[in-house]
């Protein structure tokens, strides 16, 4: 398992994605899956950066791992901010027209749709969000 401890700030996003991409590229992950994983990681990291410690600041811990046998790649994002279960957010109605569509709730929906498995738990004052995808 590899870990990155980083300030939870939107301007550190590139470093988070570079950390994940290095692992995916080393595993010859197909481009489509890599983009879906990046999109999901971006949503979750930006969520932490925007809300977990507001109005203060804090860190996020990012753990990644690839199972060499099953080729299941996992990303776990951990923060010590306010309790927040992103999976409780209702899915947006994706059948609505442009005029009817709001702009919220899309991010977590994309994460749920593009990953094979997602889970949330609150433990020892930490939010622990894990997602998996076969690569």
């Amino acid at each position: 398992m590899k870990e990155l401890k980083i300030e939870a700030a939107v301007d550190r996003l590139d470093e988070v994605l570079a950390f994940i991409d290095a692992e995916l590229e080393a595993r010859d992950c197909p481009m489509k899956a890599q983009m879906q994983i990046d999109v999901a990681a971006e949503e979750m990291f930006v969520n932490i950066a925007s809300y977990a410690y507001a109005p203060g600041h804090g860190d996020a811990l990012i753990q990644i791992e690839t199972d060499p046998d099953t080729r299941v790649f996992s990303v776990t994002l951990i923060d010590s901010g306010i309790p927040y279960d992103p999976l409780k957010k209702a899915d947006p109605d994706v059948t609505l027209s442009a005029e009817e569509r709001g702009i919220g709730g899309l991010g977590i929906y994309m994460v749920k749709k593009s990953m094979d498995a997602v889970s949330y738990r609150r433990e020892n004052g930490q939010n622990i969000f894990r997602m998996e995808k076969k690569i």
């Binding site: 027209s97 442009a98 569509r101």
Partner: protein, 99 residues
């Protein structure tokens, strides 16, 4: 990193995007569109060199589409398979005019 290449011809605007449309770069596109759209009736966005889009990028596209529905038309051209899949999953393929 996002390059925004604008080509204006009267009330027609062509915007080619190169790179990544994400949380960091989406505000740049939003600013460009806010400045240019009031006098645009035909907007073409060329995604040939766009490699990545996240929900922050989708939000900007949705606002642009809503505005253009009122005052003209908007279409996306040269959308690659990976980005098309993101549009499919989010229902954006029904909202956006993709050629």
């Amino acid at each position: 990193m996002l390059n925004i290449i604008k080509n204006k011809d009267g009330s027609s605007l062509n915007i080619a995007l190169e790179g990544r449309l994400d949380t960091t770069t989406a505000p740049e596109l939003e600013t460009e569109l806010k400045a240019a759209l009031p006098e645009t009736t035909s907007l073409v966005m060329d995604f040939e060199k766009l490699e990545y889009i996240s929900s922050a990028g989708l939000r900007v596209l949705l606002s642009a589409q809503k505005l253009m529905n009122k005052q003209g038309e908007m279409k996306l051209i040269h959308v690659n398979d990976v980005i098309n899949e993101i549009f499919e999953v989010t229902g954006f393929s029904d909202i956006l005019n993709i050629e």
